[in-house]
Every structure is written in C-alpha cells, then in structure tokens.
C-alpha cells in the first residue's frame, strides 16, 4: 500500500468485506438453531447448525480494524479477543480457512479444533482467544521477540473496553512501558461488556487516560471513523517501529449485533442500534472516497459484487469441507 489513496481504497474495501462477512455469518449461524428442528421447548439451540457455539460479531466496529491494520505489514503481529473476525480479515487471514474453522472443518485454520474464538494463523501472524484480557501480555511478547530478533516489527493488542479492567491488561501496560516495547494497545469501546455499560464497569470515562499512569501516550479517538483511527494508529505504530515504545489508543465504536448471536439484548435501550446504524462508518468513508474521485457508483457496485462472491465462496468452501476424522481429536496436544 504505497499511496494514501491505495490505503483509503483498501480500508473501504476491507470494511465492506468485514460487514459482508459478519452479515452473512449472522444468517448462516442461525441455520438449524431455530424451532421446529430443535429440542421441544427451546427458542434457540446454540449447539446446532453448521456453525455451532458462541458467535460474537463485529459489524459496526470495522473502522478500528482497518484504521490500524492499514499500517501493518505481514510480519507485524495482531492479537485479538473473542470478537475478532474484523481484525482477522483486516490482517489478511484467508476467509476460506477462517470460515471452515468456524464450521469445525478439517480445512480450517486449526483443523476445526479451535473455533470462532480461537483463530490461529501463524502465516499472517494473527491469533485471538476467548479469555477476556489475555491478549495484551501476549502482544508484549511478540513485541519483545521482534526486538530480540532485531526487526522493526510491531505488535497490536486489540481488546474491548471491558477487558481494560482485567489485571492482565494493567500488567501488560506496565511491562510494555517499562521495556519500551513496540506494541500498540487498541481498546474498542463499544459501550458494553456483554450487558454491562461502560459507566457501570469503569470509574473513568476514557481508558486513554489510564496510559498516563503507565508512562505512555494515551489517545482517544472519539468517532467511529476509519480515518480518525488511521491517523491515531499511524502515529502510534510509527513510534513503536522507531523503538520509542508503546501507545494506548481507545476508539469509541459501535456494536450493531448482540454480544453474541442470540443475545436477547434486553439491557439495551430500544432503538439504540437503529440510531447507531445511522452513523454507519462505511458510507462515511465511501463519501470521502467519492469526494476524492476514488469511488463512484459503478466502482462501488463492482467491488461489492466481488466481495459478495468472495464471502459466498468462503462459506461454500466451509460447507463442502469434511469434518476431521474423530481420531484427530487426540492429535496436536503436543507439537510433533
């Protein structure tokens, strides 16, 4: 991505791809999970259908993923959390293997053993986990390794505002600042940790303010806007690459779906999501591109068609792929 216009287009395309992916997953996830095909009396069966288990979707949070990853190289490390499809896509994790993983198929990233919360792609240096707060220290380790190996690679830890109350997060910040590690902590404030509003979990308004307590810059991105994230992340990542240490960025972003698919969302004010969707960051960036002559209706339709086809192909690949043989259950506990 040489020029700024390349990056702008990449961000737009990637946001469209993430949204398409999440919206497709939202539907496919429900296949087989609803009455009448499930146990009598149930409204929903989490363990049924082609993609069973929990499903945390990131629609609405695309600006965080693309604004940061637009600055990354393949050698840079990204560590996500439970809601990580957007980061994976923006880091270049192949859709086919990622989708197959969420279907539990042998062609998946982890041969079907990890699942949606546990995506590992060493080639694209991406991983994520279901333990809230666990990623930040691991990103420090990747950053430490880069330095020990004499590389100018950086590591990004993505996590939610809920995770910023975990001890692991605070320990990681101190470690990163103490050792001046090339790591950037990116907190997605989507206002909720499951049902708990930020104001009911966190004593201060902005996690960016916490950075001062650890001796690193803290930046608050107030708008769910790809360009704003792009700008803040650019400064932080350049700084990390130059060996000048870590930064903490918090982005105010929006969660369009429930915490997980099937979440009754009774804790959420009626109409909130509708209101949030009125500030959709994708058309907003599209507008910027149009103003610069980088996008028009024809081009938009063309790229959306291509993305639809790519996403459909990934789900088709996942559906067609075989499950692992049950004997595989006993393999890979240890490395060969």
């Amino acid at each position: 991505m040489e020029t700024t216009s390349d990056r702008l287009l990449w961000m737009y395309r990637t946001m469209v791809e993430i949204r398409e992916y999440e919206e497709t997953m939202a539907k496919v996830y429900l296949e087989g999970k609803l009455p009448p095909k499930i146990q009598k009396g149930l409204a929903f069966d989490i363990g049924a259908g082609p993609a069973p288990g929990e499903m945390h979707l990131a629609a609405g949070q695309e600006p965080v993923a693309v604004g940061v990853c637009a600055h990354l190289r393949k050698e840079d490390t990204v560590v996500g959390a439970h809601r990580s499809h957007h980061f994976a896509i923006a880091k270049g994790v192949p859709l086919n293997a990622m989708t197959a993983e969420m279907f539990g198929k042998v062609t998946g990233l982890g041969r079907g053993k990890g699942g949606h919360m546990h995506l590992f792609d060493p080639e694209h240096k991406f991983s994520c986990s279901g333990i809230v707060g666990a990623g930040a220290p691991q990103a420090c380790g990747a950053a430490l390794a880069a330095r020990k190996l004499g590389k100018d690679w950086v590591a990004i830890a993505f996590f939610g505002e809920g995770a910023a109350n975990q001890g692991a997060f605070h320990e990681a910040l101190n470690l990163a600042a103490l050792w001046q590690l090339p790591v950037v902590f990116v907190c997605e404030d989507n206002k909720y940790g499951i049902s708990v509003e930020k104001g009911d979990s966190t004593a201060i308004a902005s996690n960016a303010d916490r950075a001062a307590g650890y001796g690193m810059p803290g930046v608050l991105v107030e708008k769910n806007d790809a360009l704003a994230v792009f700008e803040a992340a650019g400064v932080a990542i350049d700084r990390a690459r130059r060996g000048e240490g870590p930064t903490l960025i918090e982005v105010k972003t929006d969660r369009y779906y429930g915490h997980f698919q099937g979440d009754p969302e009774t804790y959420r004010p009626k109409g909130e999501v509708k209101e949030l969707r009125e500030h959709d960051p994708i058309p907003a960036l599209g507008g910027v591109l149009r103003a610069q002559g980088l996008l028009d209706d024809a081009r938009d339709a063309e790229l959306r068609d291509a993305i639809k086809a790519k996403v459909q192909a990934a789900f088709e690949f996942a559906r067609q792929s075989p499950y692992p043989d049950v004997a595989e259950a006993h393999q890979h506990v240890f490395a060969d």
Binding site: I38, Q39, G41, L42, A43, F44, D45, I46, G47, A48, P52, G53, E54, E101, G104, K105, V106, G110, R111, G112, K113, G114, G115, H116, M117, H118, S129, G130, I131, V132, G133, G162, A163, N165, Q166, G167, A168, G193, I194, S195, V196, D200, S201, T202, G262, T266, Y267, Y323, P324, V326, E328, A329, H330, V333
Partner: protein
Amino acid sequence: MTTQHKSRTLTMAQAISEAIGQEMERDERVFVMGEDVGKYGGIFSATTGLYERFGKERIMDTPISETAFMGAAIGAAAEGLRPIAELMFVDFFGVCFDQIYNHLAKNTYMAGGNIKLPAVVMTGIGGGYNDAAQHSQCLYASFAHMPGMKVVVPSNAYDAKGLMVEAIRDDNPVVYCYHKGIMGLSWMSYFEGSTNEVPEEAYAIPFGKARVVREGTDVTIVTLSQMVQKAVLAADLLANEGISAEIIDLRTIVPLDTETVLASVAKTGRLLVADEDYLHFGLSGEIAALVAEHLDSIRLHAPVRRLAVNAVPIPFSRPLEQHVIPQVDGIVAAVKAQLATPIGL
C-alpha cells in the same frame, strides 16, 4: 421432601435463583457479585429476577475483574458477610486462581481456625454445545484436589436448590458448579431429567450424601452433574438388554460420600466412573483408588473402568467434541465391555 408443601417443576436455573433469593430474604448478609448477574440475570440464568427484587447493592454487576471480585468475596466474608461470587465459566478460574486457592481455601487453616470464610463461588461448567477449549471444561476436581474448598456439583433442580441453600449457610468456602447443559436454558439443548419437582419452601441438602438415583445389581455407575442424566438414559438402554445398573450421583465431591460408593460397589462388584472432567489425576482416579483401598471388603468381578475426557482440551469441531466427551452410548459400551471382562488371574 416434605409432601404437605407445594412443589412445582423448575429448571435447575430457576431452582438456583430461587434458593439464592430465599436465602437473601432470610439473611441480609447474603449478596451476589459477578459479571452480568444483575440486569442480564446471569448468562446462565442463575440469578434471574434477583436484581429486580434486591437491587444493585445486593446483586452487583462487576467489572470484568475476576481477581478483584473474588478477592473482594474473601474480604467481605472475613467481615462476616456471605458473598456469592459468580465466575461465569469455570474456565476463567485461571484469571483469579490465586485468590481462590491460596487465600479463600487456606486462610481458615492458616489462621488456626480463627477465620471463617462463608463464601460461595458459583460457576458454570461443562461442554456439549461447541464452546471449545476455553469455555467447556468441568474442572471441579481441580478445586477438590486442593484442600479447603467444599465442591458441589448438582445434577437436577431439586438437588440444586437444596445444595445451594446448604452452600450459602455453610461457614466455609463452597465451589458450586452448575453444568450449563442441565440448567434448562431456552437456548441450549438439555436433559429433561434435570428439570424436576422442587418444593417452594427453602430446604437444605447436607453435603457428603450421595444419592442412589437407581438401584441395580450388575454394575455401579458413579457419576455426577450432567453425566447423571446420561447415565440414566444409558441404564434404560442397558435394562432393555437385561443389564441392571446402579447409579450413584455424588452431588458433592468435597465432602465425598465414600460409604455409599463402597456399599454399592460391594453389592454389584463392578465400578464404572462416568465423568466429564479430565481423566487423569482427577475424580475418576480418586473413586477408583477409594475402591482399591477397600478390596479387603469388596470383591470385584471386573476391572474398574473410567470414562472421562482423555488428555485433550475440548475440541471445537462438533464430531470431535462429541467424541471426547463421554456420551450415553459410551456408557452403554463401557458397561457391556466390563461385563465381558472378568477379573484375570
């Protein structure tokens, strides 16, 4: 069970929240802390309706800070309160285990009995719905392994209520493990046997009293939690083939009702332990060792068998997950194999 009082059919989740609510009414020292226990009513509905009744001072949503609220439970318990701290999934104990095993479990002992910690750690366990390696474990044996914690693992609503009442009234730390797949949630398939008649009034079930779920003569199946429900289905299938299985639901593993287990195995001469926790260094080995230590008074007709998760994390992929977690057909097969394998020599 007193029959003159009213009872109705409740899910295990309803029974647990009813028990907590009744104890909160009875004793104002009781309160609940945990993630999403308030407005949401608990991810697995163990606190549904309590926030509306008792308010946010007694049903406290916490930040995602397990070490902080687990430690706070210890501090509050030492002051004489009776906290219930919900660890949403037992798998998350890793985040806060120091508070649990180095402090909650040991302080009474280290204080020479001068401190009481009447805290309940309530937690969701188990797999079967494809939540993969970090959200599907049982781990109750890990708590039981370390001295100082009572460990409760109910299999049905009636027991769940009585054991929760006992847990809250107990002056010691109690780890209360509910299996997600028997809570009777509207969004997860479950075993109907776990939803049963529950009296309206509060009642306590003493710890350390296993329940003989079903009497039998050919084999003793020692089990607990969701696996009890699987064992019942397996015993039905076995009965069709003329095999009579006795099922022991341990209900609590600390304290462990050794008498009931030993008496049953002495009667049947065969022991199968059916467990959803990890196989090695855990519950099934403990029960097998118990029987081995009493072979002076027990004559086994077949080697002991164990079914549990055999040395692998819980895989996500559905067929793999169903394969590593013992199922009804696995219990049936294990019993038949046992009947076909007499003691050697």
